[in-house]
């Protein structure tokens, strides 16, 4: 009886050995390629994909760019995968670059596809390429960046990110497709002359479609408006340049007679870096306030005309407008919204020199 029991245990344990080969269709890490950057452009009726793959070789990391076409993204990835010696895994994708033409046509299906399949992390950053994407990727290949992650670091907050760059991930873009009251801005890039990339500004995306474009100065205001920290940005006025130390936003929203009113106040704390001529504290302050206000108003008219609510102003009216009508926020209320934007600049210090 006892030997029988032992035998039973042994048989059971030997069965467990069959699970040692782990999951199905498991591919070892050395048989996978993990692209970091994905570029998508639109051919006639096909997508063209660019995958930037960092490859370790002899102590350093080289960058490889592979291309493929397909009617859908997954088909194109599949094609690349079959043509390569190892299988492509989009799990560690960090940046997705769309060609401008494609963005203008609409990225709704692509973004929904990324959210659906879970192959791509929803945290991956989205960018738009203003140049020919072919050139863009061939330039990236040539660039001597050893890590192959240059574009990724460009967006990292603790690396190359600057407050003039809008930061938008896949899930935020997806949210903008369905949300009634919020759109997104996606950074636009160009091939740089002396640097790898050059920032052109941001694309204004309305429900997955690029409808307008703002420049990088306006993007800074956009970031400040969304309380994204704009620390370290150097703002040039007529009288010199200042360093923004802190920003704070205050909003007051009103809804009277089916019309939306918004009063926003941007409080900036700055320190002076450079002055030209005989600028005084007062003149720097007033010039800066004037400059930012007019810049904001210009941007806002542009945005209102495109009916894209990248500032998320509709969020303030969620409790004021019933949900049924909120659906038409962009067309009915946002385009008629009257905005009062104020800037208040506080000069915290003038650096080592005394300024009066």
């Amino acid at each position: 009886m006892r030997t029988f029991k032992k035998l039973r245990v042994i048989i059971l344990i030997s069965f467990l050995a069959s699970t040692l080969c782990a999951c199905w269709d498991n591919k070892d890490i050395n048989h996978r390629v993990l692209p970091v950057v994905l570029g998508i452009s639109l051919l006639k009726d096909e997508y063209k994909l660019f995958l930037q793959i960092p490859q370790p070789s002899q102590g350093t990391i080289k960058t490889k760019v592979v291309m493929g076409t397909g009617k859908t993204i997954s088909q194109a990835v599949d094609k690349i995968s079959t043509n390569m010696e190892s299988s492509v895994d989009l799990l560690h994708l960090k940046v997705i670059v769309f060609e401008k033409k494609l963005a203008q046509k609409g990225m709704k299906d692509l973004i929904s596809g990324f959210m659906r399949s879970r192959d791509v992390s929803p945290k991956a950053m989205v960018a738009i390429c203003d140049d020919d994407i072919n050139l863009f990727f061939s330039k990236m290949k040539q660039s001597s960046e050893p890590q192959g992650t240059a574009l990724l670091e460009y967006f990292e907050k603790n690396a190359g990110w600057n407050p003039q760059i809008a930061l938008t991930s896949v899930w935020e873009t997806y949210r903008s497709i369905h949300s009634y009251t919020q759109d997104v801005a996606i950074p636009m890039l160009k091939i740089g002359k002396s640097t790898l990339v050059e920032q052109v500004g941001s694309a204004v995306i309305k429900q997955g479609k690029m409808v307008e474009q703002i420049n990088s100065d306006e993007t800074l205001l956009f970031n400040a408006f969304n309380d994204e920290s704009t620390n370290g940005k150097i703002e040039v006025t007529h009288d010199g340049s200042v360093l923004i130390l802190g920003n704070k936003m205050k909003h007051k929203s009103k809804f009277i007679n089916e019309k939306a009113y918004l009063k926003s106040k941007l409080k900036l704390k700055v320190s002076i870096l450079e002055t030209t001529g005989n600028a005084t504290l007062e003149s720097i302050k007033s010039d800066m306030e004037k400059l930012l206000t007019s810049r904001f108003n210009k941007m806002f008219t542009k945005l209102q005309n495109s009916e894209a609510d990248i500032l998320g102003l509709g969020q303030f009216y969620r409790k004021k407008i019933p949900r049924k009508e909120l659906k038409n926020w962009r067309s009915e209320y946002y385009s008629k919204l009257s905005m009062d934007f104020q800037v208040q600049v506080d000069i915290q210090n003038g650096g080592n020199l005394i300024t009066r």
Binding site: W24, R118, W171, H178, Q315, P322
Partner: protein, 353 residues
Amino acid sequence: MDRSFQVVIMYILTHLSLIFFLYPRNIIASTDEGHWIPIIIGLLFHFVTITTYLKGLSYFPKKDLINIYLGIGKGVAIFFLIPTTLYFLMIIILTIRAYSEIISIVFLSKTPLWAIMAFLLFMSTYLASKGVEAIFRTGVLIAFLFLPLIILIFCSSVQNVDWHYLFPIVDKEFTFFTNSSFYVSFFAVGGGFLFLGFIPPFLSYQRKKILIGALFLIPCFVLSVYIPILTFGQATASTLLFPFVVALDTVEMDWLIFDRVTMFFLMSLITFIMLYISLVLWKTIRIANVCFPSFKPTFLTITLSASIFILCLLIPNWNDIERVFLWNTYLRFYVMVAIPISVFYFGKRLRKE
């Protein structure tokens, strides 16, 4: 010996496993605004039910549900226990089928479904065959391993919250009452409390501590729905099958070596669901054992699991799972209402005599 701690832990774990997957989706689908109202109604239901149930059970010290009903009469026992058994069987089949589909959707997309189901069922059957004490001890062990992780990830999930999405806060139409998703959401609300009536002969516990443990579940119920809503907004969240899981996917934690915290969260919840299945399986076997006393419990366990496995294979796709969920809802309401009230009633009557 007082085993309240084990029972409370088990109570929390089984409910956590039920809350985070299907519950957010059901609540978000049931109404467009004012999600807190269906949540509160569910929670009230939960607390009223368990208080009645526990109060009723306290009239029968050291007796389980089977003995209580059998003590009153065979007819009563059949009237209450047959639907309960049916309900348990359906729950096991549904849980295994639905959760293996979830595993397949969320991370093991290439693994065949039967393998995932076989694995889930095998672990649960093994645990169930070892008896209730083993299940509860495993529960405590798993809680020590995974509960801190769950709480940490849960706290981190508020990272992308936009409070404006809280509005509109009031739902004036109460349309969710006519929406079947609202009733399906009771899977999480009333799916896990019945075991309290099956364990008294083996483990004793204090009523008060269970209720205190249940309080811990309130934030879980509320946040599991509100975190996806506050992150994405109702319009977007309603397009997602597992809103909470996707909301977790958006969390960025650079200092953690791992890119996706979701995986840890899901893995922990899967172990909880195994505990839940084994517990329900054990309850079913207890009842089956009374009906067929001549069979050995081990034999019953194995036959039961085998038939459950075959039934699981018969459900072909996700839409059918949702349909079975809906059928199961009628039975669930019967069990959720009838059992606590009947136990309470019989207890009161016994007290008078």
